[in-house]
Structures are given as structure tokens and as C-alpha cells.
Amino acid sequence: MPADRPTRQALYRLGQLVERRSPLPPELPPAAGQARRRVLAELETYLNGFATQAQAQGMRVWWAEDYQQADRLVIERIRETGCTEVLRNHSPLFDEIALDRAAAGNGIKLIPIHPGDHYLQLTGASPLHPIWPSAHLGLRHLATAMAKAWKVPPSFDPDLLAGTARLRLRPLLLAVKVAVVGVHFAVAADGSLVCLDNDGHNAHLMALAEHLICLIGIEQVVADMADLELLIRAFSLAAWGQDQAHYVGVIAGPRMADGPRCVDVILLDNGRRRALAAGLSVALACIGCGACHAACPVYRQVGAMAYGRHARSGPIGAVLNPVMWPTRRTQDQPYLSSGCRACAAVCPVGIDLPDLLARQRRDLAARASWAERLGFWLWQRLLPYPRLFIPALRLARRLLWRA
């Protein structure tokens, strides 16, 4: 089902923005891809290395096998602090584990401090894109929601709206006690955690929160600082079209004098090891920059929600979702692609998504029932003859409708 009109317009505009950027330096995707593959080839070694280093730095490390365990771990850590209002940054991991809902069910209010995420919460809308979650919210829609929630006169000037959001959100940041942070990278060599953004909310949380609860997917570990530097560049170029994000915060454990006094790290599996075992280590190299989303003509039509609320979206989601979260809804996602290779051309870590999608389609075809196979065989035979094909299609529709 196609996305609504504002979402499609926003995705079209996003595509135009991305197309206007200079192409990635040709040497970057192979080098960044190699850095990711090196870790994924020996993931358990690097993960244990990271956990050992992080514990040596004074962090508490927790392992979550699935989203329920991750939710439980986050909520338990928040309960330890006694806080009921907690700030969080913007991360697709929170959607993946449905953290907002789980926290609300336990009497904890999670306040998104990322402006885009906060606008989504105000309007009740769904995210557009991993990096630009709120770009599809029209000015009128947003202004009305802000006016209602914050009792301010509605304005249709984006600068004024952003300024109003700043006035509301910044005091929350300055007074933050506990924060839940979805981390971009974890460095195995020294146990440090890294967050990137352009508005600085992550750096504020890392500097000001007394208790930091960090969530990270197990595949996001990088080997060392040299790889980290490369991947920061790859992420920044692919996500925002700039050499480096305006703010890159790095913490290596708690500090009594400044920074968080307690750092919890939750390493999330939730199907990642299953994907690795299924031979999808190439796809797990994804760094979550959202470049393939913006380039994909199918995504531009269907939007993020077609991939399921708590799953990854876009071409990378179409590859990983059926393996990581095998449900009836995710099974057909490899078909959400036109095979145009636009996603492969923009991937900063050189993932050949069309090849992976074709592989999964072949697997799906091999597992198809005899009825499906017969249907496709007939379709293939009848397609060149419209006089036969159209009545056959009508008949098939009628039969399927009855079934």
C-alpha cells in the first residue's frame, strides 16, 4: 500500500537532496566495508574484547538476547535510579525493542530529546527515515501540535517553531539525571562508546547525565580507532553529506568529576546472531545511515511503515527483517525492491543489497508451495498473451477472494 501523500512528497524531496550530493569517494566503501567485515568475521572475539575493556573502564555490561530482555534490562536500570522521567536520544534501536511502550507500561516517561523524535511524539506520527524521522510533518500539522501541547501561539515559521522547541527541550537537557542512549559504535580496542549527530543532543546527554544507559546492537562493534575514524566519515557522508558529523561524542566509562557517574551498556542480539548464522554477515555490516532508504524508488512510494513498526525499514530492512524477525509480515519483504541497484550505488560500506535480495527471493521461491509454483508457472506462460492473461487474472482473483 502506498504511503500517504505528505510522506511520499517528503521522501521524493529527500531523494532529490541526496542526489544533489557529491558521490562518495570511490575508495571509501571498500575500505569501510572491509572494516565492518573484519569485525563480523570474528564477532564474538571483538564483542568479548569490547565487554572486557568496557568493564575495565568501570562500565556495567549486560547482554540482551531479545527485545523483551532488552526492555526489561533498561527498565530495571532506570528503576535503580528512582527516576520516572528519563531522556532518550534518537535511535532506531528504541523502535526495534518498542522501548517507549514498555517504559510507559512500567510508569516511566521516556522523553525523546532529539527534536525530530520529539515532534513525532507530539503529533503521534510514525518516523519517515532513520536520520530524518520528522521531515514529513507539515508546518501546519506541527504548529498545531506544538500549540496544543505547549500552549503557545501557532506559528508557521520553521525557525520560530524550532526556537520554541529549543526553549522547551534545552532546560530538560540541562537538568538531565538519567538518559537512555542508542549508541552508534562501540570500540573493541578500548571499550569506548561513540554517538554522532549535528545538533549536539548526544554530546549533552553524555556530558550532563549522571546515569547513562547505553543500548547497542552487537553488530555495531568496531575494531579500533582507525576503523572508527573511517566509519565516522562513511556515516557522516552518507547520512548528511558532510565529512564529519558536527558532534561526535566519545566516552570511555564513568567519571566522578564530570560526565556520567554510572554507565550501563546493553548489548542487543534480537536476531542478529540468527542473521549471521544464515550467512547475512554482509548485510549486518550496515551502519544505519539511511542512504539506501533515500535512494530506493520503492521506499519512496511505500514509506517506512510498510516494513512493520518495530522492524528495520528500507532495502536493508527487506534483507534483514525476514531472517532477524521471521513473521508472516516480514516474509515477503525481499519483493519490496525493483532491482534497480540504486541502493548498492550509495551504500557507504559497499553492501550489495540487490544481490542479497535476489538470493532471498530465490530462497523464497524454493520454499514456495505447489499452488504458488503452479500460479507463477501459469503467469509466466500466459503473460505474453493478453487475451488469455486478463481473463485468467480475473479468475485467479475470484478464486483467491473465495479462499
Binding site: A135, L142, P158, L173, A189, A203, Q244, Y247, R255
Partner: protein, 195 residues
């Protein structure tokens, strides 16, 4: 006379300005101090968020600020004052490859003066310019970055229809003051840390 800068310095300056940052370079520390005082006078501030005076790089700056009636306020967690609009801090390194600053080091709350105020002034001695993060880290002879903040430009949010709003959480204006090495007081055109 216009000074000749090394390609390192030129690249850093070009990238910094490209992202909307302000940068100035002085031939002596006295000139840098005077320029800073003039900037603060233009901004009409009486208090600025800053590192401990002893850690500030420019000799005589604390006294000069006191003479001008400007107080240095150190950040205290839990009692942060949102009304402080100007911050003053120093960078541990500048990275020419990305045109960014590295804030790190032993000083407590080193990040905050560059993170909280609307206008952030950052001192960067020219000898602390490195080609990239790896080169800086190699010079530090440490395994990792430890606790560090890399700043590549002002705080920008483009979450409302991609309209860029500067100064969302952090500074609207980032002002880098490149300082000459203290030994001779003159501006160096050679950068000792090669890639």
C-alpha cells in the same frame, strides 16, 4: 603583511569556515588576547563559562578579563546557568582532514564551555593541528580516545522540512582562535605534526 600558512592550516581554516564557523589567526599572543577582549566587548557580556583560569592558554588573559570586568564562571553540574551565552575553552587538537576540533584532556567539564553557550570561543594552538584523528592519537601514545568530543561545526537541526536551524542545543556561533606557539610569540607557518 599577510602571513603564509601551511596547507594544513589552510585546509583546517577553509573547512571550518565552510561549515559556518568563524576563525582568526594572530601573529602573537598579545594580539590574540586583545582580539579576544574586543570580541567579548562586542558581545557585551560580564560573565563567561570557561575552564579554570589556570588552565587557560593565554598568559595574562585572566588578569586582562578581570580588568575588563568579565568574570570566568566554571561549569558546575546540577547548577548550570542557561543564561551564560558565551563560553571559552581550549581544544586538545584540530584535525585538518575534517576541519574539526577535539576537546579532551584532564580538565574537568572540558566539553561544557563549547557545548552549552550560544557563542563558543575555542583556543587552538597551531602546533596542535594534526592531519587526522589517528595522527593525533598516535601522538598521544594512548590506546583510545578516552573521553573526547569532536566538534565539526555549530549545532544544527534540520528536522522541520529540512529547514536548517542553527543553535538548536549547542552554539550558534563557533569561533576558533588559532594561537601561535608560545616559545617565540610569533606565528609559525610550519606545522610539526605531519600526517
Amino acid at each position: 603583511m599577510k602571513a603564509e600558512f601551511s596547507p594544513f592550516v589552510q585546509r583546517f581554516m577553509a573547512l571550518w569556515q565552510q561549515r559556518g564557523g568563524r576563525i582568526e589567526v594572530h601573529e602573537s599572543q598579545a594580539a590574540a588576547r586583545l582580539s579576544l577582549l574586543l570580541t567579548l566587548r562586542e558581545l557585551r557580556v560580564r560573565e563567561i563559562l570557561a575552564w579554570p583560569p589556570a588552565a587557560l592558554l593565554l598568559p595574562g588573559l585572566t588578569e586582562a578579563l578581570a580588568d575588563a570586568g568579565i568574570a570566568l564562571i566554571q561549569p558546575e553540574r546540577g547548577r548550570l546557568r542557561a543564561e551564560l551565552t558565551v563560553g571559552l575553552t581550549e581544544a586538545a587538537a584540530g584535525l585538518a582532514a575534517t576541519g574539526s576540533l577535539v576537546l579532551a584532556g584532564p580538565v574537568v567539564d572540558a566539553w561544557l564551555p563549547a557545548l552549552l553557550p550560544v557563542y563558543a570561543l575555542v583556543f587552538l594552538p597551531i602546533p596542535r593541528l594534526f592531519s587526522d584523528l589517528t595522527a593525533w592519537q598516535r601522538a598521544q601514545k594512548t590506546e583510545g580516545l578516552g573521553r573526547a568530543l569532536l566538534i565539526g561545526g555549530p549545532s544544527i537541526s534540520a528536522d522541520i522540512e529540512w529547514h536548517a536551524h542553527t543553535g538548536m542545543f549547542g552554539p550558534r556561533q563557533l569561533h576558533v582562535v588559532l594561537l601561535p606557539p608560545p616559545e617565540n610569540g610569533e606565528l609559525s607557518t610550519q606545522v610539526p605534526h605531519e600526517a
